[in-house]
Symmetry: C2
Subunit: 111 residues, 2 copies
């Protein structure tokens, strides 16, 4: 049976935001650590850091703030802009999924 | 500036239809030849034939009919089902593009 498949992302001279970065940010928020979030995805810390850094440059605002030192050795936390971005992107993808599935149904499942 | 990017395709245990096959079919229709269509895309005849064959299997109907022999050495022509598919897919992608851009505007260009 024919199924709909799609990928949606945001671009600014390269990938600026999408499923991957959104998932990574949610993990950092839950774990309070970029290093632990990277670990869950079997990604190196340097690769995860580079990814976040590239997204920040392309989006034009900071996604993470770093809490240095203390007993825990510091951690990574989301900026307010990152929270807004996650929310907007999640809503955008949800609405897009509905719209695309409705159109797919209309054109390919009418029989 | 943030831009919307997306890819949409149809799947049936693998890619069944998308921009590439749609473009290929339109070229075959214009040129009356799978070989010439492949040539325009710098694709080998065998690769183009394999692509069409795979799409036909996944879609469950024939896309091409072959006119063998004659002075011209025969040619490839679209089936009625292929024409309907091109039409449906083109309309589907046009409507999807409108819907996604509208949502993108709503969520990311409201400021």
């Amino acid at each position: 049976m024919l199924k709909l498949r799609y990928k949606i992302w945001l671009d600014n001279s390269g990938k600026a935001f999408g499923e991957g970065p959104c998932d990574m940010l949610k993990r950092i928020d839950r774990l309070g650590s970029l290093n632990k979030a990277a670990g869950e995805l079997n990604m190196s810390y340097s690769k995860a850091w580079k990814l976040m850094n590239t997204m920040e440059k392309r989006l034009g605002f900071k996604l993470l703030k770093r809490d240095v030192g203390g007993d825990s050795g510091g951690g990574s936390y989301l900026t307010e802009e990152a929270r807004v971005m996650i929310h907007k992107y999640t809503m955008f993808v949800q609405d897009s999924d509905k719209a695309l599935n409705k159109l797919f149904k209309y054109y390919f499942e009418e029989e």
